[in-house]
């Protein structure tokens, strides 16, 4: 027995996020840690529950182990429900075909049965790789008020950056008359956020037609949206104002983390009216040692700090020894920094050990790229890692030779 839901959310979480390099080697992009105790997907899942959407399908494909384990039964987000809740939807073997998800549209197409169980009027399509707080229920109200077939959330971007996005050209009332993917000469600054609401029946019609089209690349941005537009469906752009960041590159991931710092941060997580939920470990409180210095830092449970930390984000269980100095960096859970080590402008992935006296990266002011150290590595004492280096197990082995 399934209860009817007005709106079902489908969260595309299968992307590899290849521009995050070693951070997504063993991990899907939505599961990449963020902001001291979160993972990227927490923002979308929390937005769903805060918007009153309690039925979420999470489509996984690339390196799903961590993500599956993390989502579990959905309890941290209050999505462990008798009716609805969160359901992880990996590709599956059907009685005629067994297919990987070939594109975003195909991923939803393969799960039409899942959506149909809840008999929703609307389907919200989301991607799990942005940092933002958004009330989807307002967008749904907008969709209903406009009597739209599809509504696409857009955000104003600077005109000089507009050619990096999918741009919606709209009439005054928000009706979309043209969609341009990465236009060289953008006519508007309304960039698609990759958030769509469809009236269910229309969506299913276009998904089925797209599936039958062998030339289609089965993608919402490339196929479904342009086809619907060409067919004259009612499509509206929903303007969103607020913080929204694609953390698809190392520099944007670093920046988005740093946006949390400061007394009046660019992006505020402490807003009690829109909480971001995450799965919590049972760790001891954080301890700041007698000679430690922590300035403009975010620190999480389980950390033990004896050294100097500035302008940084520390995840749970990070240990920083006496005399070590960490600046402009992101240290993910369980990272240890040995005595006297310096870490500058670096992202260090989980459970990596940085030996005593090692030197990682270079001061950010020198203008180099962010340095990245992969997970579960051991950097020997005294070792030097050049600024901008991307160290995974193979690169480290080569360096040690």
């Amino acid at each position: 027995m399934y209860k009817k839901k007005e709106c079902v959310a489908m969260l595309l979480a299968g992307g590899q996020g290849s521009r995050l390099y070693t951070l997504t080697e063993k991990n899907a992009k939505p599961a990449v840690p963020f902001g001291g105790k979160y993972r990227i997907i927490d923002f979308t899942l929390s937005n769903c529950i805060n918007s009153g959407i309690d039925t979420v399908g999470v489509l996984t494909q690339y390196q799903p182990l961590v993500l599956n384990e993390y989502i579990g039964n959905g309890q941290p987000w209050d999505l462990d429900r008798n009716h609805g809740g969160v359901t992880v939807l990996p590709p599956y073997q059907g009685n005629k075909t067994a297919d990987w998800y070939k594109g975003t549209a195909n991923a939803i197409y393969q799960n039409i049965n899942f959506i149909s169980r809840y008999d929703p009027d609307y389907v919200l399509v989301l991607s799990g790789d942005h940092i933002y707080k958004m009330d989807y229920s307002l967008m749904l109200d907008y969709h209903k008020a406009k009597g739209a077939d599809a509504t696409i959330a857009v955000i104003d971007v600077p005109i000089e950056e507009a050619s990096r996005f999918g741009i919606m050209n709209t009439e005054e009332d928000g009706k979309i008359y043209e969609f341009e993917e990465k236009p060289p000469k953008p006519k508007s600054t309304k960039a698609s956020m990759g958030i769509y609401i469809f009236t269910k029946d229309k969506l299913f019609d276009y998904l089925r037609a797209d599936e039958a089209d062998e030339k289609s690349s089965k993608d919402f941005g490339k196929n479904i949206i342009p086809t619907m537009l060409a067919a004259g469906e009612k499509m509206y752009a929903y303007p969103f104002a607020g913080y929204w960041k694609d953390v698809g590159t190392l520099s944007s991931l670093w920046e988005a983390n740093m946006d949390l710092l400061g007394k009046e941060p660019i992006f505020d997580l402490s807003d009690r009216s829109w909480r971001i939920f995450s799965r919590n470990d049972a760790q001891a409180p954080q301890y700041i040692g007698p000679d430690a210095s922590v300035v403009n830092v975010i620190i999480t449970e389980g950390c033990e700090i004896y050294g100097i930390v500035e302008n940084s984000i520390l995840f749970g269980g990070v240990k920083i020894a006496r005399g070590a100095c960490v600046r402009d960096s992101i240290l993910m859970s369980g990272v240890t920094v040995g005595a006297g080590a310096t870490v500058e402008y670096t992202i260090v992935d989980s459970d990596t050990r940085l030996g005593a006296g090692c030197s990682i990266g270079e001061r950010r002011e020198k203008g180099g790229d962010v340095t990245v150290i992969g997970s579960e590595l051991t950097i020997d004492g005294g070792m030097k890692i050049e600024a901008g280096a991307q160290i995974n197990a193979a690169a480290l082995a080569a360096l040690k030779k």
């Binding site: 902001g35 001291g36 105790k37 309890q75 941290p76 710092l261 400061g262 007394k263 997580l269 402490s270 909480r275 971001i276 939920f277 995450s278 919590n280 470990d281 049972a282 760790q283 001891a284 409180p285 954080q286 301890y287 700041i288 040692g289 007698p290 000679d291 430690a292 210095s293 922590v294 300035v295 403009n296 830092v297 975010i298 620190i299 999480t300 449970e301 984000i313 520390l314």
Partner: protein, 374 residues
């Protein structure tokens, strides 16, 4: 081997009960815990998943804290966490007065039933990470009726008044029991308020105590029947801190802060995490201009001032120019700018406005009650 657990949350009504209006079980401890978390986590970490929590009066904050038990992984279809508030009828006349364990068991007798062979009984007045299975295994290996866990420690006559001391022969069999003695001193086997009992024997004791009006395990059972029954001690030699009054509370907290090894012996034992209620606090922010030294800090705090030798619970704000020393600030304590605190314990939601200076002394910390504004 199958083991059930019983937790007593209404005992040990020490001076913190008068000062802080809290039972020891719900006393907030070390940034994010409540005292009951240690006993509950010890049970869960020993795979004891049928846990019965016996409450007294004033158990609303306990129920709020524990909820369904899911944060301890005790929200189970079978077994899991059961709350047992007092059940009153003519057999349970002891009513709502403070009473020993056996009386509390009599109060809930109609609700007790175990399919497990043994029951671990535990109070909530100690901070420790203890492997309960070792006590249970020792109990089974010696075919004991009751095994009480003790720690051999030095007591002064003054301290001994708050203790129960067991004397055992070289094989560990109890031959004498001293309850709240005033003349004991030296190294003695002091009860740490954890015991293991055969289930059948436990039920028989409760039955018998209803008929005879008994109320105390130590006085009416262990002291009286030691010659006929196999009552044993289990020597625990790990770290344990008992909190009996408000000064203990302050001193034990400060010792946990000062002694890293002691902290690790409770919080960093492999496979034995300490669980507590998940609050989804944001991480803590240390702003430019802050200075924090030798302090334990929970998530969700915002620190702009100076914090030394202090313990901050979740959601505490330390304003600009403020100095907090040797103090314990409970959840959501807000301090304004240029505040000075020394040896102060603020309860939940206390607000200290700009420029206020408050000080207690290490031997007499100054306590500020829930929600007070100064």
């Amino acid at each position: 081997m199958s083991v059930a657990g019983i937790l007593f949350t209404g005992l040990h009504r020490g001076s913190f009960t008068d000062i802080m209006e809290r039972t020891v079980a719900t006393l907030p401890f070390l940034c994010r815990y409540r005292m009951i978390d240690f006993a509950l986590s010890n049970m869960v970490n020993a795979d004891i998943t049928n846990v019965n929590v016996i409450t007294k009066d004033d158990y609303h904050s306990l129920i709020e804290h524990i909820g369904s038990g899911k944060d301890w992984d005790l929200a189970r279809r079978s077994g899991g966490l059961t709350m047992l508030p007092p059940y009153l009828n003519t057999n349970t006349a002891s009513g709502l007065q403070s009473s020993p364990r056996l009386s509390e068991l009599k109060n809930v007798y109609p609700s007790l039933s175990f399919k497990e062979d043994h029951v671990v009984l535990c109070d909530c007045d100690t901070v420790c990470s203890i492997d309960l299975n070792e006590i249970v295994n020792d109990h089974i290996a010696h075919d004991a009726d009751i095994t009480v866990a003790v720690k051999n420690q030095f007591v002064t006559p003054e301290q001994s008044r708050n203790t129960i001391i067991f004397d055992a022969d070289e094989n560990g069999r109890i031959f004498d029991t001293s309850i709240n003695p005033s003349n004991e001193s030296g190294y003695r086997n002091v009860s740490i308020n954890i015991m293991v009992i055969k289930t059948d024997y436990l039920m028989a004791i409760i039955d018998d105590s209803i008929a005879h009006g008994y109320g105390s395990f130590s006085r009416d059972v262990i002291a009286k029947r030691a010659d006929r029954r196999n009552f044993r001690i289990y020597q625990y030699d790990g770290a344990i801190s008992t909190i009996a009054d408000f000064n203990d509370y302050y001193n034990v907290s400060m010792r946990m802060l000062a002694d890293r090894d002691l902290r690790n012996a409770v919080f960093n034992v492999k496979n034995r995490p300490v669980y507590t209620r998940v609050r989804n606090s944001v991480p803590t922010k240390y702003h430019a201009g802050c200075a924090v030294h030798n302090s334990l800090i929970a998530d969700g705090c915002t620190i702009e001032g100076r914090v030394e030798n202090s313990i901050l619970f979740r959601g505490v704000k330390v304003g600009r120019g403020t100095v907090v020393k040797n103090s314990i600030l409970f959840q959501d304590t807000l301090t304004g700018e240029n505040v000075e605190l020394n040896c102060v314990v603020t309860d939940r939601g206390v607000v200290i406005r700009d420029g206020r200076k408050l000080s207690g002394h290490e031997s007499l910390p100054f306590y500020i009650g829930k929600g007070k504004m100064i």
